[in-house]
């Protein structure tokens, strides 16, 4: 067990946001969204200059052009410098990666939608730059060309399948090139970029000395040198700017700060970081460079930030180089910066993710290769700061294991309270590591796993191709729709295969087998398309910076991330909506085949009219009343288990050689909104196009009426052991955490689940909107239980004025 300075933990608890951090937050609130076209100016200019050169060199020089020229800015409240745009929350675009992907720029009102609900105006000059870039890159980018290749194989099927939400829009969203997001922070901090340059140059020399012929590799190493030097120069631009500002600065204190910025930026990232401050500054510049290369990408992931930063942190504190206050302030600055960098996303991305900020992830705690838990004071500080910041990004995960200290678990619950839930989420260290080991990954690599996006476990040492070829998820609910319509999707297109008229199914098994046939057809076809994408994309795109800084194998082999090395690449997929399908299938089984309360024809008619027909509402209520997963009811829980296993088998039966087989990792995000848009009414009682269940193993919203322990019993019974990760969103009100005693109980609840093999859980707080909705749509909120000592009732059974009371007391007791 690590020796922990408990005094330091107490001091961390006392920390608030510093004046500087508050100034930044105020500026963030005041600034509003702003789009900066600057990057596009330089991409176009560079692309013209490098015409005819090798794709790797072109991409490296494109990044260099941006880094050398893009407008930079240091705000009065900045001590860590380096941001994607000169705005506090500026947005960037990426036509060079995604082509002509923002329809808004061709409209006359010069307004671009940047978030779900915010439009921003553009000055004519910026608009011209954007249009120019769109024209320059239109039809020449990896996603566009991949679609072409796909269409040459399957015709309009791929667009139809996307419309029916059978797959997610990874390619369209520009998310496809996400092969890793965690840079090799340890190497960057301890050795500096000069080491990368030396490494590449030595390999270049060897290539020439050996008379090697694989020219692609030479270009890779040359591009690695170009981008490394460009990153160093970019940092030095900040140093020069800071010096210039210092000359004019009248306040002595700020002048000294600016000179300090300059000194640090002259030293890192070129050289190894010597202090906590230098380490964070190096990360900031490297993070910005990564996103300049591809803005429509995850923000830099922290990975195990509490581990590689710990030596700097604790050494500086112990030697009086920094105070805990100052360390917290610096760390807050970078967490906040990475939590608010944005880009203009494609429409489908907004639909599927419900956000437009670059996701980034911090994974705290967890064991080392010797199986010893490594939670430390810095892990605690991270939690404290995300609690203070209350941003929706980063995603913060805690690697739960049997040795996770109790003080960390308690802090995690308090942080959940501060952030209104979801932060941190808990993932089972032991489950994830076991999966990696079972798949032949050595322990020293497996124990370094961290989160990609939300819960997807990835290894910093390997390129993660989850979604990288445009296929990240398949939608089992949409497949069920196919099975219930003889292969036709919600738009009437035959995107599936004909598996027979469901009205003629003789047994439940007929339906089940039809579903699995659809699954295999869709999923394997998509895997084949992914393999085609793998060949197509590198023709049009390379990511020299991400490759050189992200994965050691890329440097060693001289090979871009987008051309996967079978030894160093992981492939994954998320098979979604298992619970929607389990609840739906059990309803059909009981209503149609077992109890014969409805004929298949009657049920289908109700579904096809989204329960709007004459008997619609009655049938919907009958559907609702069938057993639902999440209540510890064996027949439906076991069905969920069966679907999970069969789905896994279908995925694993695809031969992905020469690469590893696809792993299954069921993440959550806001995909359920998107996925629902392609699915008609379901026999679980959900109406057409409504969102599917959230998470990946959460019960149907409002259907878990036997309380939170029954939910976990269902999840454990169904097991879902095939998946590296599952998302179980558990809803509680803040009342559940009103006393220290209640915090202890929630810790015990979490521990019980994890000790028994649960893989993930996160807590969302019930808000008053939900309670209001429960008054109007009680059937969707059967789970809300009023918890007061010695009292028992469901919220929907309270009398309306008492319901109002509860709502007004801001969910004290649910």
């Amino acid at each position: 067990m690590k020796k922990i300075n408990t005094e330091l933990l107490k001091n961390i608890d006392k920390l608030g946001l510093s004046e500087r951090n508050r100034q930044w937050k105020a500026a963030l609130k005041a600034s509003g969204w702003k789009l900066f076209a600057d990057r596009e100016k330089w991409t176009v200019e560079s692309w013209k200059e490098t015409e005819g050169e090798d794709i790797q060199i072109r991409r490296a020089r494109l990044l260099k052009k941006i880094l050398d020229n893009i407008k930079i800015r240091i705000y009065d409240f900045d001590v860590i410098v380096g941001r994607l745009t000169p705005g506090v929350i500026g947005c960037a675009t990426s036509f060079d990666i995604s082509g002509d992907y923002i329809p808004d720029i061709w409209k006359d009102n010069s307004e671009i939608s940047v978030t779900m609900d915010a439009n921003i105006g553009l000055d004519p000059e910026s608009l011209q730059i954007l249009r120019n870039s769109a024209v320059t890159f239109r039809g020449k980018t990896a996603p566009e060309m991949t679609y072409k290749a796909w269409e040459s194989v399957v015709g309009p099927w791929i667009r139809d399948a996307e419309k029916a939400r059978l797959k997610d829009p990874t390619l369209d969203a520009g998310f496809f090139a996400q092969c890793t997001s965690t840079l090799m922070w340890d190497k960057i901090l301890t050795r500096g970029l000069s080491a990368f340059i030396n490494e590449a140059q030595a390999l270049i020399k060897e290539f020439i000395d050996n008379c090697s012929t694989d020219i692609d590799r030479l270009y890779f190493w040359k591009s690695a040198v170009i981008v490394s030097e460009a990153a160093i120069d970019h940092s030095k631009r900040y140093a020069a700017l800071a010096r210039k500002m210092a000359e004019k600065e009248t306040k002595a204190e700020r002048k000294e700060e600016l000179l300090e910025i300059a000194r640090i930026c002259e030293h890192v990232p070129e050289n190894p970081a010597r202090t906590f401050h230098e380490a964070l500054q190096a990360m900031s510049i490297m993070g910005v460079c990564k996103n300049y290369e591809n803005p429509m990408h995850n923000n830099p992931q922290w990975g195990r930030g509490d581990q590689y930063l710990y030596p700097y942190f604790i050494n500086d504190l112990n030697n009086g180089i920094i105070t805990i206050k100052k360390a917290a302030e610096l760390l807050t600055e970078l967490i906040g910066r990475w939590g608010t960098q944005t880009f203009v996303a494609a429409e489908s991305f907004k639909e599927s993710h419900q956000i437009n900020f670059g996701i980034n992830n911090i994974m705290l705690g967890g064991v080392d290769k010797n199986g010893e838990d490594q939670t430390n004071e810095l892990s605690y500080l991270f939690l404290h700061l995300v609690g203070l910041l209350q941003l929706s990004s980063p995603t913060v995960g805690l690697r739960w294991n049997k040795s996770t200290p109790d003080w960390m678990m308690k802090k995690a619950m308090h942080t959940n309270m501060e952030t209104k839930g979801g932060i941190p989420l808990f993932e089972n260290d032991e489950v994830v590591i076991k999966h990696f080991l079972d798949d032949g990954i050595p322990l020293e690599e497996a124990s370094e796993w961290c989160g990609l996006g939300c819960v997807y476990p990835c290894l910093p040492s390997r390129a993660e191709h989850y979604g990288s070829e445009g296929i990240a998820a398949v939608n089992l609910a949409a497949m069920l729709h196919l099975a219930l319509h003889n292969g036709k999707d919600v738009n009437g297109k035959l995107t599936g295969i004909e598996t027979g008229n469901p009205a003629e199914f003789q047994s439940f098994d007929d339906l089940y087998n039809s579903l699995m046939k659809q699954h295999k057809f869709i999923t394997h076809r998509l895997f084949r398309l992914a393999a085609i994408a793998l060949k197509e994309q590198p023709k049009y795109l390379r990511l020299p910076f991400l490759s050189a800084m992200g994965i050691q194998a890329c440097m060693d082999k001289g090979q871009d991330l987008l051309i996967p090395d079978p030894d160093a690449a992981m492939f994954g997929i998320s098979d979604r909506a298992i619970i929607d399908v389990a609840d739906s299938l059990i309803a059909v089984k009981k209503l149609v085949f077992d109890d014969k309360k409805l004929s298949m024809k009657e049920l289908l008619l109700a579904l096809d009219t989204s329960f709007d027909g004459e008997r619609g509402e009655e049938i919907r209520m009958m559907c609702f009343a069938q057993p639902k997963y999440g209540n510890d009811i064996d027949e439906v829980d076991m069905l969920a288990e069966r679907i999970s296993k069969d789905s896994y088998d279908i995925i694993r039966s695809y031969d992905n050689s020469p690469f590893r087989k696809y792993i299954v990792a069921r993440e959550g995000l806001a995909w359920h909104y998107f996925g629902g848009l392609g699915v008609g009414a379901l026999p679980n009682g959900r109406k057409a196009f409504e969102p599917l269940n959230d998470g990946s193993v959460s019960p149907m919203r409002g259907a878990d009426k036997n309380g939170p322990t029954a939910v976990l019993r269902s999840a454990l019974k169904a097991g879902f052991d095939e998946s590296y990760a599952s998302v179980l969103n558990q809803k509680f009100s803040s009342a559940i955490l009103q006393s220290e005693e209640s915090v202890d109980k929630l810790v015990a609840y979490t521990n019980a689940f994890m000790q028994n093999g649960g893989s993930h859980i996160q807590y969302n707080m019930v808000d008053t909107d939900e309670l209001r909705d429960a008054k109007v749509n009680p059937e969707k909120h059967k789970d809300l239980i009023v918890r007061i000592g010695g009292f028992s009732a469901y919220f929907i059974q309270l009398s309306p004025d008492i319901q109002d009371d509860v709502i007004n007391r801001s969910e004290h007791s649910i």
Partner: protein, 302 residues
């Protein structure tokens, strides 16, 4: 006694004893406190309840009822409890969950099977099973058997009682109960009778009995404004607790709330406390501090 009428078995109960608990609500209570939040647990018999706000007036229950016990009265459905045999056909017929059944006969084995499922949560939290209601000690033998099962598997056991029971019932469960939550409602016997239907003599005697037998007891007081929050009652309660000795100096306040009101309506019962608002935190704290000043370690259940 192998079966009892149970209204609910509620997991993840965190206000009813140590750790994460499952509370088993028994039906039937010798008291009928005006502020009772669980009126469905007063009668020992199962009952059908009708949640008006969920009713869509489809009339399916009328059709389903073999006894003609459901009638339409001025546009509202009412259950005629004289005719109702609690057959449950209306509940089955209602797709909107507007008809609920309060109470079903369960055997000890059935209750045990339900509560043992949360074993892992008891283990990780030091929790267990709490019997409540209603008055669980009306089913003392049943409780004894249930707790025997629990203790065999080292599951913590707790009795939540109003105290107005045969002393033999208390003695029956003492050997198998780890913990008691014991309600003291009012020290004035006359007022006690007025508000609960019974005088407090037997309750106070049973409190002494428990202490005498070295039971681990947490006394609880349902704090109802204007009824038992007076200086006089605070003093008298403190004196009583002090008289019980060192072990009894703890008291937990259960602030009055109106959450149970809907259930009165569902059962066509009269709610006498319509005019009394829930207590605010400040008033609760004032009472708590008064107890603390008198040397009682007072906490508030939230």
């Amino acid at each position: 006694m192998n079966s009892a009428v149970i209204t609910n078995i509620q997991g993840y109960s965190i206000h009813d004893g140590p750790g994460i608990r499952t509370v088993v609500f028994f039906k039937g209570c010798p008291l009928s406190c005006e502020w009772c939040a669980n009126p469905e647990c007063i009668s020992r018999k199962p009952q059908m309840g009708f949640i008006e706000s969920l009713c869509k007036k489809c009339g399916k229950c009328l059709e389903a009822c073999p006894e003609n016990a459901i009638r339409l009265n001025e546009g509202e459905f009412r259950i005629d409890y004289l005719k109702c045999t609690v057959c449950g056909k209306c509940e089955e017929a209602c797709v909107y969950d507007a008809i609920v059944r309060y109470g079903g006969l369960m055997t000890v084995n059935e209750v045990w099977d339900a509560v043992r499922r949360d074993r892992m949560f008891y283990d990780s939290s030091g929790g267990g099973v709490t019997v409540s209601g209603g008055e669980p000690l009306l089913y003392a033998e049943f409780v004894h058997q249930l707790f025997d099962f629990c203790r065999e598997e080292k599951i913590n056991t707790c009795v939540e009682t109003c105290g107005f029971v045969d002393p033999d019932a208390i003695l029956e469960v003492i050997p198998v109960s780890d913990f008691f939550l014991f309600d003291i409602k009012h020290m004035d016997s006359v007022l006690h009778k007025k508000y609960t239907g019974q005088s407090n003599n037997r309750i106070l005697e049973n409190a002494e009995l428990l202490i005498k037998h070295n039971a681990d007891v947490m006394f609880r007081l349902p704090l109802v404004p204007g009824i038992n929050d007076s200086e006089t009652n605070i003093k008298a309660t403190s004196e009583f607790l002090k008289g019980l000795g060192e072990k009894a100096l703890k008291l937990q306040l259960m602030p009055y709330h109106r959450m149970g009101q809907g259930k009165y309506k569902a059962l066509d019962m009269v709610y006498h406390m319509e005019q009394i608002p829930a207590m605010d935190n400040e008033a609760i704290e004032t009472v708590k501090n008064k107890y603390m000043d008198l040397g009682i370690l007072c906490t508030v259940s939230r």
